[in-house]
């Protein structure tokens, strides 16, 4: 197998505004079919000629056979550009890159606890929907998701309409500060997780801003979880996606190739560079 770094053309067929700074883009190939298959947690390189290229996690589940989705937060040159496009715009895509959550091995038959903060839901959404679509292979599902405000909750409609409607799926939403029209929980994710006092036999999938990950992990350990039970995903600057361009390493591991999914005990072995 070789990797020529040459992307293929993808067409943005649908743009959903999730939050003031997050949009979800539906992408298919020119032939109307999925560009490629992937596993939950894997990433793809999206680019626009002359604007830039960057790695994004694929938010849709592999079980979706029609299209891929990317939830993208506006923060740099490329993402700003993407936020300005309209339906029908072609972009460039290559992938899939990286490893994935061990949905076929370690996660199988386990009770799963998903913890996400802000745009951190993006990579987990792929797993959540994958697990929901293969419901019998997994145990109980708990989802804790928090954001700055109600408006900043990504995929809110899907969460409300589909996830909470599922049997055996418990969704716990929280926002940082109280606001009008919100009767749910208020508070930061790490403390909410502790409040919820989950059984410690669950396998945890954790994603969010670095500070949130740090404190949630601390909380989980205090609750009696072992680091080996917790999976998370990382994000660093990437160019090639195949572990050759040399910039996304944490110690001896390349996030693009050996990650982005890491088990927290493995991560601990690596130099503290993130």
């Amino acid at each position: 197998m070789t990797e020529s770094l040459i992307p293929s053309v993808g067409v943005v067929t649908e743009i959903r505004i999730d939050t003031p700074d997050v949009k979800t883009f539906r992408v298919v190939g020119r032939n109307g079919k999925k560009c490629f298959n992937h596993m939950p947690g894997q990433c793809a390189m999206l680019s626009v000629p002359g604007v830039g290229e960057a790695m994004f996690s694929i938010t849709s589940s592999p079980t979706n056979t029609e299209f891929m989705e990317f939830s993208i937060k506006k923060c740099g040159c490329l993402t700003n550009w993407l936020h300005m496009i309209e339906k029908g715009q072609e972009i460039l895509i290559r992938g899939p890159y990286g490893n994935h959550f061990p949905v076929e091995r370690e996660l199988k038959n386990k009770d799963l606890l998903f913890i996400a903060g802000g745009i951190g839901l993006a990579p987990l959404r792929s797993v959540i929907n994958y697990v929901r679509d293969n419901r019998e292979d997994y145990g109980k599902i708990d989802i804790v998701y928090g954001s700055r405000s109600k408006d900043d909750l990504v995929d809110y409609q899907e969460i409300i309409n589909e996830w909470t409607a599922d049997k055996d799926v418990s969704v716990y939403l929280t926002i940082d500060r109280d606001q009008e029209g919100w009767d749910g929980h208020v508070g930061f994710v790490p403390s909410y997780v502790k409040e919820l006092d989950f059984d410690t036999d669950k396998t945890v999938l954790l994603c969010g801003p670095p500070v949130m990950i740090k404190f949630t992990l601390q909380g989980l350990i205090e609750m009696g979880f072992d680091k080996a039970q917790v999976y998370t995903t990382m994000e660093l600057k990437m160019k090639c996606g195949v572990g050759k361009c040399g910039r996304c390493n944490i110690g001896s591991k390349y996030v693009c190739k050996d990650g982005p999914v890491f088990r927290c005990d493995d991560l601990e072995e690596l130099p503290d560079e993130y």
Binding site: Q89, K239, C245, C248, N249, E269
Partner: protein, 339 residues
């Protein structure tokens, strides 16, 4: 093994270049570079090494990837049709020959890099033994034998003769095409010469560079060592060491709008540059210390960890010679060996 009077070396070049493009080290404009052979080429046999390494042949500083044409909302991809001509590089030293094996581990690892792979397959490496190693050489520390360089073909220049020995299938094929120009030669004719080089190599001041610390210490411990706090301060953050290094392989992917299309190309990058890991919202390597550390951690710890203990350094001494402020990997290794 064959031989040829050294004064007839251009005859050899002529013969090789009839079969394939041939590159030979020459002195040019106050520097030493590989130049495509022509009848005016004068082989700089007394120069130990080119200033830039030979990695360009397989991993050029700029590599075109594809072009894109934008019209309205659509993007058309135009693949670059690049002809990879076969070529031979003459006079590669043992260190650089070894560097290709290291680059192979990166670029040929799954999924392989097609540009590198193609060039690697098309290239014949003709190495030359080092008659006079320099004090900056420390290849022997990595088990490299400058008296017996690897490569598809090895040559020795000694006693007025140039000795030629094919090592690989590619080498044998080339030899087959040109062997008429050679004289016959005993296999052991250059043993004394080899021994001589080996003897000189024994005197290399850092031929036995002590890398025990890196070998034996945990990556996290080396990473957090306070030695880094001191030794990076002279570093200017330029890319000289990485660009002359035969094993540095970091690259960037960039676009250029030529007015008709957007050309995507990749080019060498350097982990010494401040924007190497810079993202829109931050940079995990904030100061030159982290960048400096990365380069040497990569060469002496991370790479060996991932590649059966092989260091990503061949001791060619280029960084020792080229660093504007005289920092280099030897000093780093030494700083830790005294720790």
């Amino acid at each position: 093994m064959y031989k040829l009077p050294f004064e007839e070396i251009n005859k050899l070049f002529e013969a090789v270049s009839l079969n394939t493009a041939l590159y030979v080290p020459v002195k040019k404009n106050d520097t030493v570079v590989y130049e495509k052979y022509s009848e005016n080429t004068i082989y700089a046999y007394d120069e130990l090494n080119t200033v830039k390494s030979a990695k360009d042949f397989f991993f050029p500083q700029v590599q075109d990837i594809a072009q894109f044409k934008l019209r309205g909302k659509s993007i058309e991809i135009i693949n670059n049709e690049e002809d990879y001509e076969s070529f031979a590089v003459f006079g590669v030293r043992a260190c650089d020959a070894k560097s290709f094996e290291i680059l192979d581990k990166v670029f040929l690892a799954e999924p392989a890099d097609p540009y590198y792979k193609e060039r690697r397959e098309k290239g014949v490496i003709i190495t030359a033994a080092c008659e006079k190693p320099d004090e900056v050489c420390f290849c022997t520390a990595f088990g490299i034998k400058p008296w017996e360089p690897s490569g598809d073909v090895s040559v020795w220049i000694s006693g007025g003769y140039i000795y030629w020995q094919a090592n690989t299938q590619k080498g044998l094929e080339l030899t087959g095409k040109i062997k008429d120009i050679f004289n016959a030669c005993e296999e052991n004719e250059i043993e004394y010469f080899k021994a001589q080089i080996k003897n000189i190599c024994g005197k290399l001041p850092f031929g036995n560079l002590d890398l025990k610390y890196f070998k034996e210490t945990d990556e996290k411990d080396i990473f957090s060592s306070s030695v880094w706090d001191e030794i990076y301060k002279g570093c200017l953050g330029c890319g000289t060491c990485t660009f002359v290094c035969p094993t540095c392989q970091c690259y960037d992917i960039r676009d250029f709008d030529n007015g008709k299309t957007v050309e995507r190309f990749r080019c060498w990058d350097s982990c010494m540059y401040s924007d190497f890991t810079k993202m829109a919202h931050g940079n995990p390597r904030k100061t030159q210390k982290e960048r400096f550390r990365q380069r040497f951690m990569h060469k002496l710890k991370y790479f060996p960890m991932n590649n059966e203990g092989i260091y990503s350094c061949v001791g060619c001494g280029r960084c020792v010679r080229s660093c504007p402020q005289k920092l280099n990997i030897v000093k780093v290794a030494e700083a830790f060996s005294h720790d």
